[in-house]
Symmetry: C2
Subunit: 470 residues, 2 copies
């Protein structure tokens, strides 16, 4: 049967063992998951033993060891308990950074600017030399939006001096002090769940229901056919349709008296179902933003940090000036956003404004990425993963379709949500953790240390599960 | 002269030395601040040497050692480099908690519920047995607001099943899915600077200008006369006026089609100028919320954690059922909110949902607070501080007025903003860090280990500065 053919094929490929001495050899399952020691409470999947987790493997409290292709919702950059990070903890010079969390905006630690230069600024997107640190992805986007609003209003005024009316109305939430401005977002987008972010999030009902929102424009995100290179003409048409709609919405909202101050978009819509668009789409969208005087904000909270095979997904667009703002979090271990000089966030402030202890880890993560050429590794293992998904969807056309990806940032659609959910659980019971996204997609979000060896381990297990669901 | 009299008086009082073996003896200034090694960049006050900071003393990069009564905007609970926290860092069993940050909502560490029970639940406000952890104060309030909206809509529906129209409209930011509900807040209040929070923040123009907002009702916060006990009748009248306005606004906004789902208030308005109200005011406000079916949210981000002499400022109200939601952050080292069972936040979720490494520190902070009876210490040193401020405002009636406080959570008004700012800088150059708030107030936010000894050290220096400004 087909499934056995797949088994043998992947088993032979899997012979080359991983070279990571801090990794485990493979999954090891003792119970179904959640097992007896995991109390299953609400949304909790299971309880974890983080002490014993290592490299690509997450261990649960029942001793089950699972190959992790979800990595805490894509937020573990170089695997569990990486020796470089443990070593950093052993250095007594780092102690006070953990124990004394400063109000970074007013009382930063000695040489904090240098530390930021060594870490975040060393990976600054093209055209940007400045970064604002924040504690999480939502706060990053909230404050990025505020930066765009402030920039837009100053541009409207032609100077930085607000009027008396601005000053008096802003304290009571009224225009012009609190202006009727908007952020244009895309259907299927996800930018966080605090109230400003949530007004630009349109991926799942559960996020939005019952929460008051803003009347802001929502454009269609291209619904492309995969593999992209086989449908270039159809996809270009679809992208042109969406871009036209973007321009129409900008004009319409300006006429409504609620001008679009900024456009926010993910380079790959993640939560919304791993929806891709071409570099050409993003280049044109950037052009539309410029033409209409809107700021352009690339939200790289999920795509940033290397899993697309480049440090930032927007690097695939090949632009010197890809955006006005690039926000990040997750794999960068705390949040923030890079910005072009014009968007100086002088009035962006809160108590902590990030966390230097996370920056300490990030600097080391970046060292590991460079030292071990992890972006190249991701490109290589990502190709193996996507090729494997192509094979599997050819073998199981009733189950899988629309395999797609960039680096290891891959996804595949399952025929329906119930089957997808069942497959996720069955795969987990065989020792592999995956995530869902969109209506019935599976998303793959391994750490940057996920190698060919792990790809084939995964493909073997996955093909077995698929065969059972055929 | 008066200033010399004060000097000698406080010097005699200051004879009893602090018993904290991890503290310094007193300030030690080598330069003015910021000194030559502090580059002064934008909003940065100066750069700090957190390694050498200890107990109540913050040390800067020029070696200046300052008695800290501002504590990183009120966020350092038991001083710098407390031995108990350093010891915790030395325990190898804690390593993996720092190195592997989980997605707490789905993959919590082993026994995380027990750890939360030992830490946060051990200080749960009366009537509450549940807590939702978050990464910062703003995220805590944003999600608390969402919990109140969801609770209110379910109450309106009479069941938990949204209509088809709810489901389809929420994805495009429209009512009824994104309902026209509001949160009632108070003029002078501060609840954070993300967009939902910011709609309830009304303390400073700089926070709000140019950011779109919601049409939500804003009630006057009582403007009381101090000392409170000398103006009980006048203050009661002022509070009655404000409460009447609250009810009027609730009715008006309901008529507008934008019902008030919740009321948010600080037990003491901090950022807005350390404005107090009586326990009677809060008890009546709680009653009004209940009468009109609004949730009641006490924002204890700044007041929580012990500095008022009780762990929560709302404990001074003497109620068994003080609120539906109590949010926190700062001295609790990461954010979150306690809630009554009815406000189950089933749909509250994000990637990190807090940080177990901060909870590790918090558990130890709570141990220290209990072991060293720090709440009693705060009540004692707070009384000495407020008595000293009363004396100083009697000595310098042209400079100081309206001394007020609860525990060490004290403040005093200066005659004007320019004088206030000058006094803050001069005091800093003499080795004491203070903070401003409101238009021309000085706020005192020492750590919980601030003793009588430190109070008198501060009062001596402060009276000297005041004498120079007479």
């Amino acid at each position: 049967p087909v499934s056995l053919l797949l088994w043998s094929r992947y088993i032979s490929k899997a012979a080359a063992k991983a070279q990571l001495d801090y990794d485990y050899d493979g999954p090891l399952m003792k119970t179904t998951v959640p097992g007896p020691r995991s109390q299953n409470v609400g949304a909790v999947n299971f309880f974890c033993n983080y002490d014993d987790s290592r490299g690509n493997y997450l261990v649960d409290v029942d001793g089950n060891r699972m190959l992790d292709l979800y990595t805490q919702i894509s937020s573990i950059p170089i695997g569990y308990n990486h020796p470089a990070l443990l070593k950093l903890m052993a250095n007594p010079n780092n102690l006070s950074t953990f124990v004394n969390r400063p109000a970074l905006g007013i009382l930063p630690p000695e040489n904090f600017p240098d530390k930021i230069t060594e870490s975040l600024i060393s990976v600054a997107p093209s055209g940007m030399t400045r970064v604002q640190t924040m504690a999480c992805g939502s706060c990053s986007n909230e404050n990025a939006f505020k930066s765009m609003f402030i920039w837009y209003r100053n541009k409207e005024r032609g100077h930085n001096s607000p009027s008396e009316e601005d000053l008096s109305t802003c304290m009571i939430n009224q225009a012009p002090g609190c202006p009727d401005l908007s952020i244009l977002s895309f259907m299927g987008g996800f930018h966080g769940r605090t109230m400003g972010c949530l007004a630009t999030t349109h991926s799942k009902i559960i996020h939005k229901l019952d929460v008051p929102s803003f009347d802001w424009p929502i454009a269609p995100f291209p619904r492309l056919q995969y593999p992209l290179e086989e449908f270039t003409r159809e996809n270009a048409q679809e992208e042109a349709r969406c871009l036209e709609e973007v321009e129409d919405l900008i004009v319409k909202w300006r006429q409504k008296g609620r001008p679009v101050a900024g456009i926010v978009i993910e380079p790959i819509q993640a939560e919304g179902g791993d929806n891709h668009a071409s570099p050409d789409f993003f280049r044109k969208l950037r052009g539309i933003a410029r033409k209409h005087g809107c700021a352009f904000h690339a939200d790289e909270v999920q795509t940033g940090g290397g899993s697309t095979g480049k440090f930032w997904a927007h690097e695939h667009w090949g632009m010197e000036d890809p955006a006005d703002i690039v926000s990040f979090s997750k794999k960068l271990l705390s949040g923030g956003y890079f910005y072009r000089d014009e968007l100086q966030p002088y009035r962006i402030f809160n108590t902590w404004m990030g966390d230097p202890s996370k920056n300490l880890f990030l600097a080391e993560v970046l060292n590991v990425i460079r030292r071990e050429n992890l972006l190249e590794e991701v490109a290589r293992s990502g190709k193996a993963l996507l090729d494997g998904l192509y094979d599997l969807q050819a073998q199981f056309p009733g189950l899988l379709s629309r395999a797609r990806g960039q680096g290891t940032f891959c996804a595949v659609d399952v025929c329906d949500a119930a089957t997808r959910d069942r497959i996720l659980l069955q795969t987990r019971d065989k020792g592999v953790i995956l995530g869902g996204c969109g209506e019935s997609s599976i998303r793959f979000r391994p750490a940057l240390i996920f190698r060919d060896y792990h790809v084939h381990l995964f493909l073997n297990i996955f093909s077995d599960v698929l065969a059972h669901n055929k």
